[in-house]
Assembly symmetry: C2
Homo-oligomer: 338 residues x 2
């Protein structure tokens, strides 16, 4: 167990290192924070902290930098999420309120997050599974061609083309549309499969094939497009860490393009609360020197997707967490209103 002062030393090290991006020594520490003890004492504490694996020296005769474990302790026990200032809050609200549709909300959110945190922002589109159906529309584009349009309560729209096994009349289509909507409108996506299970049986034999085709496409859409889209912004901020270039930046850019990777990471925690993954806690290798701060957001009380930022492990955790949390709240409000 670490003494209170040692924790304070760790906190000071993290804060200074994040600020200066340079290994911090005992003398500088005592000067910048009034710990009430001499450098020599701090040195002893540092030796202990290093022993425990919370900090490390890049090389002998250099200052210390926090390890992933050190950041972890800092985030868990030493840091308080920094609330945004009132002007910042107002700015967020104003900026988001100008959005005209879901795409716009997401696009604005990404820009906002990237600017606020000066890091790479990631916003997941409201996921389908956790949303509800607002409406299902069927359009006949050709005798044996139907377009399926799915509209969710978050305003998201998905469409698919369906080639019918047999020509399908307008009246049958209207019939199917009506019955489909009466069953699934307002229901959760996860419930849809069992709600439509027996639908084909109530149709004439000749139409049954098409009805099945439509239904299976609908179910496919629910599964495939599930949590699929992700928008990323602020990649230019990666260049702020010009030191370790380009060894660091390259794998990060690659990981960001592999949206699957990010989606998996975001989806890992079901907890809609704030999650911080530090360095090697990220399964993906390219992100081993980055931290990801994410949080769920949603239109109601419930989280429908996540958003967050990706930055170097040496990030300003309190500030970043504050910004992420605030943005998530406001986005939730905006979605609830629309």
């Amino acid at each position: 167990m670490l003494s209170e002062r040692r924790l304070q030393v760790l906190r000071a090290i993290v804060q200074d290192y994040v600020g200066t991006e340079e290994p911090v020594g005992s003398k500088a520490l005592t000067e910048r924070h009034n710990l009430g003890v001499s450098p020599a004492t701090v040195r002893n504490d540092m030796a202990a902290l290093e022993e425990e694996g919370y900090i490390a020296q890049p090389h002998t005769s250099a200052g210390r930098i926090p390890t992933d474990k050190g950041y972890r302790l800092f985030v868990d026990r030493l840091a308080e999420i920094k609330p945004l200032t009132a002007p910042e809050r107002r700015a967020i609200q104003n900026f988001l309120e100008g959005a005209v549709d879901l795409d716009d909300v997401v696009a604005r959110t990404v820009r906002l997050l990237a600017q606020l945190t000066r890091q790479v922002a990631v916003v997941q589109y409201p996921s389908l599974t956790r949303s509800t159906v607002r409406h299902v529309e069927l359009l006949s584009l050709a005798p044996a061609r139907v377009m399926l349009v799915l509209i969710t309560d978050t305003g998201r729209v998905e469409q698919r083309m369906i080639d019918c096994p047999a020509p399908f009349g307008e009246t049958s289509l209207a019939d199917l549309r009506a019955r489909l909507n009466s069953r699934v409108a307002g229901r959760r996506f996860t419930d849809v499969p069992q709600l439509v299970e027996d639908l084909p049986e109530s149709f004439d034999a000749e139409d049954r094939g098409t009805v099945s085709a439509v239904l299976s496409t609908l179910l496919e859409t629910l599964v495939e497009k599930n949590e699929e889209r992700l928008v990323i912004g602020g990649t230019a901020n990666l260049t702020r860490f010009a030191h370790d270039f380009p060894l660091t930046i390259r794998p990060v850019l690659e990981a960001l393009e592999e949206q699957v990777v990010l989606l998996k990471l975001l989806g890992e925690t079901k907890d809609p609360g704030m999650t911080v993954r530090i360095g090697h806690e990220n399964a993906h290798e390219g992100l081993n020197s980055t931290s990801i701060v994410s949080v769920g957001y949603g239109s109601g009380g419930e989280a429908v997707a996540k958003l967050g930022v990706v930055g170097p492990t040496r990030m300003d955790y309190p500030g970043t967490m504050g910004a992420v949390r605030a943005v998530a709240r406001y986005v939730g409000q905006i979605l609830a209103e629309s």
Copy 2:
């Protein structure tokens, strides 16, 4: 006027420099290309080329590198677009054929282009103005709330929410839907405004407000969403030019995020054929050390949008142009089929 051999020297310089990324000297040139003359002669030619502004030396006693003007001449008169190999073509086709919808086509195209050229790929979504309307759908979500869904011949879908000034009945909605579609289905977007101009007049006074609201939203969508979306991929390839880091990469990333900038650049030339913008020919400052190779693509014979790559001015122009052209063709085919 430059002699034939001097042009060959320029071509050789461009080729070598692109390959080695290092200034090329007279001796190396004569060794790698059999120009049939001695280094001394080449030196004279180089002096002349430098005089004319086609090449430059980074510093005295170094080899020459092409200037923007040199690349321009190379692209215009010295380079032949390199066709892809048969296996490459097959790979493209296979890869694109797996796409399930428009989003997927675009996403795959970006990845493909980025991989083929090992540069940053940019694909513009099929633009609205040049496409035709496949269908307009109106959904009543609440008594005074209508959703407008617009489907284009390229499979693109746009939706908008409309708050009606007065409640709007299902029958009126069906009526409007039918009349709207009979007028605009299959027509070009640019023609839509005049086609619907007199539509409100044929409705009852009580509905006229809503009809106008719907129409103005439709027209808004045509204008606002016009050529708006852009997908970018392969940014990790920027790190291949690790030399001039990060001074070069940062403004480029910033420019790429400012989609408006790119859209403007892509839209500059109305010519649907291949366009190459080299270095300072790009109006945007951040892209002054990059070249953009773009070409129009479309479902029919007509171009509906552009795609291309952004790379360093020292890029393999013949190969890049070949890849861009080939991808555009195959995407066009895929779009025509769907």
